[in-house]
Subunit: 365 residues, 2 copies
């Protein structure tokens, strides 16, 4: 691993702040994404944190405010959760092609990765702090700074208290068996399985119990889902729906866009995921625009908060072909067919069928 985990193979979307993710061949290679290839979504530069002097403060609507060193945190029961994180902007590139989205990262399918996270349950800290009856939301603030609308401030966001009390919501200090790297929020980050990555606040320094959601820019303004008719000039910024739990989605990781393939039976591979811990119950792929669908085999998994690997076979005839995938989750939810159905001017939550164009041609004789 290189310094800051900036591995050569990463697809880099921006250098300052650093934003990158694994290419499709690395995405599909392992169920747990190697840490040095795990996608990075940062809004500021990674701060340097003095581990000895570090204190996490927990306050607001609680009976017993807490101030905890990393050693203090270590005294709480340790838990490990295998969980996939996905950026709310994953697959924005497809939305951009449909209609431009300026000033946002044009992610392909690489803003998604899976790790085994270890740390303490936020619920255990909350039990020690005893939320008051007024507490409804848990707001997190990191140590990283960013600038928006001429103001410099620290990154933050919140989740409802009800979600925060679930045992799988961690304050993580380890990632796949190693101390949490600085670029992924070390020494301490939040992990909210099944929710948009933006709520898994990095370089966590402060937790505030509140009656209302965080008023941080990234909760109050950004990471909202607006109707297709809204645009940056016309939007009422408060009118969008705050993003949280992820929708059902599936991705083709092989073959890749513009691949040249030989005709005949062709293996299609990918991942699928739904929010809220909802199981993926079926994945289907098509090579004929949805006229026929092949059911994919789901790789066995008992990891409720992680993606599901799948594979299928399609018999491809020569020509330009568009492959597409769709998944169903345990709530009988499936994905919208077209980008037009999910387009929004911030480019979030694209869960339309993932389509990959390939060229099928017989090898030269």
């Amino acid at each position: 691993m290189q310094r800051h985990g900036k591995h050569d193979a990463l697809l880099v979307r921006s250098e300052h702040p650093f934003n990158a993710g694994p290419p499709a061949d690395r995405l599909r290679a392992r169920f747990l994404t190697p840490t040095e290839l795990f996608f990075v979504r940062n809004h500021g530069e990674a701060p340097e944190v003095d581990r000895g002097a570090f204190r996490l403060r927990l306050g607001g609507e609680v009976e017993q405010p807490l101030e905890l060193s990393l050693a203090d945190l270590g005294a709480f029961p340790r838990r490990t959760i295998v969980a996939t994180l996905q950026c709310a902007g994953n697959r924005r590139q497809e939305l951009v092609r449909h209609r431009p989205i300026p000033h946002e990262l044009p992610w392909g399918i690489e803003a998604i990765s899976t790790a085994a996270w270890a740390g303490v349950s936020l619920a255990d800290l909350l039990a020690a702090a005893r939320p008051t009856p007024a507490a409804r939301h848990v707001a997190f603030t990191g140590l990283d700074e960013t600038e928006r609308r001429g103001e410099r401030f620290r990154y933050g966001g919140s989740i409802p208290l009800e979600r925060a009390l679930a045992p799988e919501v961690l304050l993580a200090t380890e990632m796949s068996g190693m101390p949490l790297p600085a670029i992924h929020g070390g020494p301490l980050r939040v992990l909210v399985p099944g929710w948009i990555g933006a709520r898994s606040v990095k370089w966590l320094a402060e937790i505030e119990l509140r009656a209302t959601p965080s008023d941080n820019y990234f909760q109050r303004v950004a990471y909202r889902l607006f109707p297709a008719s809204a645009g940056p000039e016309t939007v009422d910024w408060e009118s969008g729906a705050m993003l949280g739990e992820l929708p059902v989605v599936s991705l083709i990781t092989a073959p890749e866009e513009d691949a040249r393939l030989a005709p005949g039976p062709t293996r299609i591979e990918g991942v699928a995921l739904s929010g809220g811990g909802r199981e993926i119950v079926r994945v289907e792929v098509t090579g004929d625009g949805g006229a026929s669908w092949a059911t994919a085999a789901l790789e066995p998994s008992s990891e409720r908060w992680a993606w599901r690997f799948w594979r299928a076979e399609l018999d491809l005839a020569p020509g330009e072909r568009e492959l597409a995938v769709r998944a169903w989750d345990a709530a009988a939810q499936t994905q919208p067919a077209t980008i037009a159905e999910v387009w929004n001017f911030k480019g979030y939550a694209n869960n339309a069928w993932h389509r990959v164009r390939v060229r099928v041609e017989a090898p030269p004789r």
Copy 2:
């Protein structure tokens, strides 16, 4: 209210067993559906139950089996939940028009209703019975009998233990302020908010904690979601996904199919609902096939487990028009556009855009 709640206004889909629901004008009239108009989905005749002799038995993987009279149940804390029930087969009629589905009820939009249910939390009974570590599912059996494949048996189904432990899952004895009517499962039924109605077992007589889901026909074979390619002749009955939590859905309750409307601004009304208690965050309607969408106003509601009423206005020009609605829930989930995307040979979980054809014409001069 008439005997058995068979109100004249009900749309009756079958007499024996009785299956019926409220017409659209009654659906939209009140947030709590009048009990005599609440939809009925029965698989057998309503059994006659002697309230004095009645005993609920709870056994299987528990340390303390229970046998409880209605008076014993009354000693547990009483809870009230406002919840919408929806049959997994609601809106099957649209699927049938796309491709025939024999031997299933051709429900329009009327297999959905809302009531204020009162009773005891299943979780309180489970706490008294103390499930063993092997317990994973909670199976319910009613007193109603039905026949399938030449065998006569009692209706049943199950939910995962995790779901059963949530406080909103009730054993209900009251419906909107009155004792639970016999036709709705009285004296005692299960209420599983946010799940297909089939799991809210009526005339509840037996609860069994199990390591696996119920092996009752209606859990093991029926109420499964099969791929579009499966049919009654070719299906592996075990291969479908067991239905449980409901997907996001929205319905137009006004105007109704084939309505004749005057040109100009037209009020569109309806309901929306998502499973798992996920909030409805947006509803949109179109009168031009999805080229443009109007955002509906959502009626304020704090009832997490109930439908959301909405209204919108569309300016309709003369001609044959198709109105359509789609909703988003808090997990950024929306509905598939077309029936073809959700068709399955059992006709379950239709959550495609709901479309209503109307004729817009100027009044005669």
